[in-house]
């Protein structure tokens, strides 16, 4: 089933940093949230759908498994930022890390060989050389799926004049805004404020019609629409069946020069890369270049054991890897969810879209 979730009010998806009022801490929102947060939301609501007795640990595990072992057949893709349009729900993706804006187009940089007499710290055969004026990467743009696919296929996409709800390319604020709120800790016994317990929480307020799209398999019995709890402070969301386009499958075979765009974050054993790329491909592929966003540390708090979970580094969504193949290579058929990630493929990490260069 595919779901489209819209917030009832604001949303709070904590970034996993520890947070308590007495440390005058600040809680930041990750948005869109990571698959780890989304799987929790979906599995929790499944207990409601199935009317599972929450005092019965065995029944819970039977219905939704645990945070690390899921019920058989359970699989998720996303969550993705999405917007309801006249043509149905449309997914939006962060601007690729290999993109530069030039006038009214967004252009993909092409890996090139180092010119003679030039050296750099890049540990790859090629680098993304930009001949124009130096530009700072505009990180707050989002591309609608069709615009992103055009970009990945042709290496360029027009920023059109069209504005408002239907824009194919828009700034972040046209989709959601961050909103800071100050709070002060309360003394539970007296219901009075605690001295010095100042904290700040960053909420996400989405523009009307914007929400999260997620594909879930292996959980049945859900109604066509309803309300569920989503994120921090038990904030709510309306959900309904999503009519977003089917997730684009990777071409087979892959183009000779193809690039992998990460649509959700990925975890790799060696940080920015896996031990061996061949683990994901049949046929020989070679990494030529990469455009990567700054890594994100993801940990979180484990309510069950009351401890901080281990924090690990993830390659952020929007990163792009450039490969060269013999034209016969393909994604391994055995990949869960067609995902490129060393962990979390089942719940939506490492979702990719393929382009060419």
């Amino acid at each position: 089933m595919k779901l489209f979730l819209e917030p009832i009010d604001v949303w709070l998806f904590r970034d996993g940093r520890p947070f308590d009022a007495l440390s005058d801490h600040r809680a930041q929102s990750l948005f869109p949230p990571y698959p780890t947060a989304m799987q929790g939301i979906i599995r929790s609501h499944h207990l409601v759908v199935k009317k599972v007795d929450l005092r019965n640990q065995e029944a819970i595990e039977h219905a939704v498994g645990t945070a690390t072992t899921y019920p058989p057949g359970f699989q998720m893709r996303g969550p993705f930022l999405a917007r309801r349009t006249s043509e149905g729900v449309q997914r939006y993706f962060p601007l690729p890390a290999d993109a530069v804006a030039q006038g009214d187009v967004i252009r993909a940089l092409v890996p090139s060989e180092l010119p003679a007499g030039v050296w750099s710290s890049v540990p790859m055969p090629r680098l993304l050389w930009h001949d124009g004026e130096p530009t700072k990467r505009e990180e707050r743009w989002w591309l609608r799926e069709d615009a992103l696919m055009a970009y990945l296929e042709q290496g360029v996409v027009q920023i059109d004049e069209e504005t408002g709800r239907e824009s194919r390319i828009c700034k972040q604020d046209a989709l959601f805004q961050r909103e800071n709120r100050l709070g002060i800790g309360l003394d539970d016994t007296t219901r009075t404020s605690q001295e010095g317990a100042l904290y700040e929480v960053e909420f996400v307020r989405v523009v009307p019609g914007v929400g999260l799209e997620v594909e879930v398999e292996g959980l049945d019995g859900w109604p066509e629409k309803g309300i569920l709890r989503a994120g921090g402070e038990g904030r709510g969301a309306y959900f309904e069946a999503s009519d977003a386009p089917t997730w684009p499958e990777a071409p087979n075979p892959l183009p000779q020069r193809f690039k992998v765009y990460l649509a959700t974050p990925a975890y790799f054993e060696e940080g920015w890369k896996p031990k061996d790329w061949q683990r994901f491909f049949d046929g020989k592929v070679e990494l030529m270049a990469a455009a990567l966003g700054r890594y994100e540390s993801l940990g979180g708090f484990d309510l069950a054991t009351n401890t901080h979970k281990p924090a690990r580094r993830y390659v952020p969504a929007g990163s792009v890897y450039f490969f060269q193949s013999d034209g016969q290579a393909s994604l391994k058929a055995s990949l869960v969810n067609q995902a490129i990630t060393d962990d979390g493929a089942k719940i939506g990490f490492g979702q990719i879209l393929i382009g060419r260069w």
Partner: protein, 551 residues
């Protein structure tokens, strides 16, 4: 092989600066970054490199990116590798100071060592690029610069797993601990050792540090503690006023504080040796005394009488001169389009001259900030990061922008100012100031300032303007507000009512508000018709209207 240009940078700047809860953390982070850069520069110079930017590597603040010319025969990879190693070693050395201190309280073990080495070994990131100078310096610089930009696009990193309780500055890395108990108990023991003040470390394990946080707090001896806190900066102009006219009330208060040994001195000044937060009545409540000064129940009981006397003395001071502003300003400023300016240098000599001018600017920037009772966290390259008392912030920012334009011919600078409560989380203030700077640079032609006010409730307010417009009408407005001729209600009511009006009614409403809120006892009123007209014209000329800002 002919000479080559090497551009080298180290980071993450974010990690060194933004992971800060106190002004001292911000200072220590900035200082550490400068030290690492300096070590990297020295390594390059040992292999014969000549400085191009910054012109003077012995400055107090160094940018995290530098440019050198390598002589014939020196391979850029080797110079860059030497620079990388030197920065790593410098980090270890600065770390050694913190490590020795912590180990003198609680001996380390293999658990502690593992966390320490992992965090120091995996924190720094390096980007560099180089190009041969064939015959034309600008062409070679451009090549190196493009390769450098390309290098920054490939942000490779190692995988690291950080388990257990996280530190309180970054929230991302394991807090240091030994095999005996968790991080909370380790830091509780450090805080309770009697060797650290509550200003260095909150008691009861509420603050837990990782290796980098530990270096910020304990790697600089008491040098960091001498850097004024946000409370001291917020109260700086108040203190100056008190000293001029009401010294005796201050002395009376100070004498009472002296009798309570938990109040430690932070600087040599006899007139007021304490942190500025002791000028705020809210500091003298039990909870704050616990967290900021390490008072226990016994202390609170023992000093009950003295504390009451202190509160009374502080109220007396307030009665005679008023309260200090609880707000201060954080300023972020840098030159506009510096990349383009550097790229347009026609020769190596011109590039060096520009670097030299920036050294002069940095020196002058420190002076300007100090003249306005502020403190520079960083002044190097074309960047300034400073803390300023609220009332002095705008004049200081203007003076800095003017100095920049004077020293760098044809250059302009833009600034972001965040106004925040002295207890507001510092990392959020820094982020607000950075965002404000971004909005200032978003104005046509840059050369602008954006102020972001973080109130203690509700949404932040931001305003931006080109520098020129600040001097005229806006300056006058400020003076009228300051002397009380125009009530501040004018601004609130204008903000509340005007968005619903359009065209002529705006001017009429403004005129009404001016008449209503003008106090003729304080100053002669200007012609309200004329002033309303000027205000409308000014507002229309501002490129950033409210909706544009949130865009």
């Amino acid at each position: 092989m002919p000479d080559t240009i090497l551009i080298f940078s180290l980071g993450p700047v974010q990690g060194f600066l933004a992971e800060a809860r106190r002004a001292q953390d911000l200072w220590a982070g900035s200082r550490l970054l400068s030290e690492l850069t300096q070590a990297a520069i020295q390594a390059c110079r040992r292999s014969g490199a000549e400085m191009i930017y910054p012109a003077d590597p012995s400055q107090e603040s160094l940018p995290n990116k530098f440019v050198v010319k390598l002589p014939e025969g020196v391979a850029p990879e080797q110079a860059a590798e030497a620079a990388r190693q030197a920065a790593q070693e410098e980090l270890q050395q600065r770390g050694e100071v913190a490590r020795q201190f912590l180990q003198s309280i609680i001996p380390s073990d293999s658990v502690w060592e593992k966390i320490w080495q992992r965090q120091l070994g995996n924190h720094l990131e390096f980007f560099w690029a180089a190009a041969v100078i064939e015959d034309d310096y600008p062409a070679a610089y451009q090549k190196a610069s493009r390769a450098f930009d390309a290098a920054k696009r490939a942000r490779t990193f190692q995988q690291v797993t950080e388990d257990g309780l996280k530190d309180s500055l970054s929230g991302r890395r394991s807090a240091l601990r030994t095999a005996q108990g968790d991080a909370r108990s380790y830091w509780n023991r450090i805080a309770a050792s009697g060797r650290v003040t509550a200003a260095q470390l909150k008691p009861e394990g509420r603050e837990r540090l990782d290796a980098l946080g530990a270096i910020k707090r304990f790697g600089f001896g008491n040098e960091a503690e001498r850097f004024p806190s946000t409370s001291s900066v917020a109260a700086a102009d108040y203190l100056e006023k008190v000293r001029g006219k009401h010294q005796s009330a201050l002395v009376a208060y100070r004498e009472i504080l002296k009798a309570i040994p938990k109040f430690y001195c932070v600087r040599g000044s006899e007139a007021w040796p304490y942190d500025g937060d002791l000028l705020y009545l809210e500091t003298l409540v039990p909870e704050r005394l616990r967290t900021s000064y390490g008072f226990g129940d016994a202390d609170l009981q023992q000093y009950e009488g003295q504390l009451e006397a202190a509160r009374l003395a502080l109220r007396m001071l307030y009665n005679s001169i008023g309260r200090p502003s609880p707000y201060y300003a954080l300023l972020v400023m840098d030159g506009d389009s510096m990349g383009k300016r550097v790229a347009s240098c026609a020769s190596e000599e011109e590039h060096r001259q520009l670097s030299q001018r920036l050294v002069s600017f940095a020196a002058q920037a420190r002076q300007i900030v100090e003249q306005h009772q502020g403190t520079a966290v960083y002044a190097g390259g074309d960047d300034v990061l400073a803390l300023l008392p609220l009332k002095r912030a705008l004049p200081a920012a203007q003076a800095l922008a003017e100095a920049f334009a004077k020293i760098v011919p044809g250059g302009t600078a833009s600034a972001g100012l965040a106004f925040a409560h002295h207890l507001y989380p510092l990392d959020a203030v820094l982020r607000a100031a950075r965002e404000a700077e971004g909005w200032a640079k978003g104005m046509e032609g840059k050369n602008a300032i954006c102020v972001r006010a973080l109130k203690r409730s509700g949404e932040p307010i931001e305003v931006r303007s080109h520098w020129g417009d600040l001097r005229t009408l806006f300056g006058e407005l400020c003076q009228w507000f300051a002397c009380g001729a125009l009530s501040s209600r004018f601004a609130y009511e204008a903000a509340a009512n005007l968005p619903f009006l359009d065209g002529e009614p705006v001017q009429s409403e403004l005129k009404r508000l001016i008449q209503r809120h003008w106090d003729t006892r304080k100053s002669n009123p200007p012609d309200p018709d004329n002033l309303a007209k000027q205000l409308v014209a000014w507002a229309d000329s501002l490129p950033g209207k409210a909706e544009e800002l949130t865009d």
